[in-house]
């Protein structure tokens, strides 16, 4: 790989409920510079139209399990951004 090319990775992002309505989509492929954490993905999301309605550190899941903002992400991960839970 030429030194001028910045390594990157692509993750699948899922939005739900009020967050899906705010950004106008439920799924997207996002490419971010590698290495990346969940915070990197959130910065990209918050820069999209409607993204300012997401909190800086929303509840998130990586590959079906809750994680925190400093969680590293890998290519192909499924990252879900979860509005306040209201089950039960």
């Amino acid at each position: 790989m030429p030194a001028s090319v910045t390594p990157s990775l692509t993750v699948r992002v899922l939005l739900f409920a009020s967050y899906a309505e705010a950004l106008g989509f439920e799924t997207a492929e996002l490419t971010v510079p590698s290495p990346a954490t969940l915070s990197t993905v959130m910065e990209r999301l918050r820069a999209l139209p409607g993204g300012d309605q997401l909190p800086p550190k929303p509840l998130c899941a990586r590959n079906l399990a809750h994680v925190t903002a400093d969680e590293p992400v890998a290519a192909g991960d499924e990252i879900a951004v979860l509005p306040p839970l209201a089950g039960g």
Partner: protein, 141 residues
């Protein structure tokens, strides 16, 4: 059968699934759709879920309870459109004695509310529709 279902929920089959001759106590919880929310009249609501994670998280919660106490636990959460009075969630926990059954049942419903990715949209009599945010009340306080 999964933990999350679009069909009606009944407690009796869950109790039947966990009871056994060596388990003398069954504690259960049934969560129903309430007719009011913060002073407004609720007509109906929609529950939606991040299905695969909701299943995984419910499985982890049940496993944790069965690890922590000597219990067998059954759990269901409904999704889709529900009317006032419909059952939204049901838990049954069976153990040799009541203390562990009560403790496990309480643990499971509290963890479901805290961790399972399910959302609720309420339809009010005044025509408004709102995604319910249980954390908003804490933030306003």
């Amino acid at each position: 059968m999964g933990f999350v279902t679009a069909g009606p929920i009944e407690l009796a089959p869950l109790i039947a699934a966990v009871q056994a001759s060596d388990r003398g106590g069954v504690a259960s919880f049934l969560g129903l759709v309430r007719d009011h929310h913060e002073g407004r009249t609720v007509l109906q609501l929609d529950y939606s879920a991040y299905g695969p994670m909701a299943e995984a998280e419910c499985g982890r919660i049940v496993a944790e309870a069965e690890e922590r106490w000597r219990v067998r636990v059954a759990l269901r959460h409904r999704v889709g459109t529900l009317a006032v009075g419909d059952a939204a969630v049901a838990v049954a926990a069976a153990s040799a004695h009541r203390e562990e059954a009560f403790a496990a049942c309480r643990y499971v419903i509290e963890e479901v509310k805290r961790r399972v990715p399910i959302w609720k949209r309420e339809y009010y009599a005044d025509g408004t529709v709102v995604w319910v945010d249980p954390t908003a009340k804490l933030q306003r306080a």
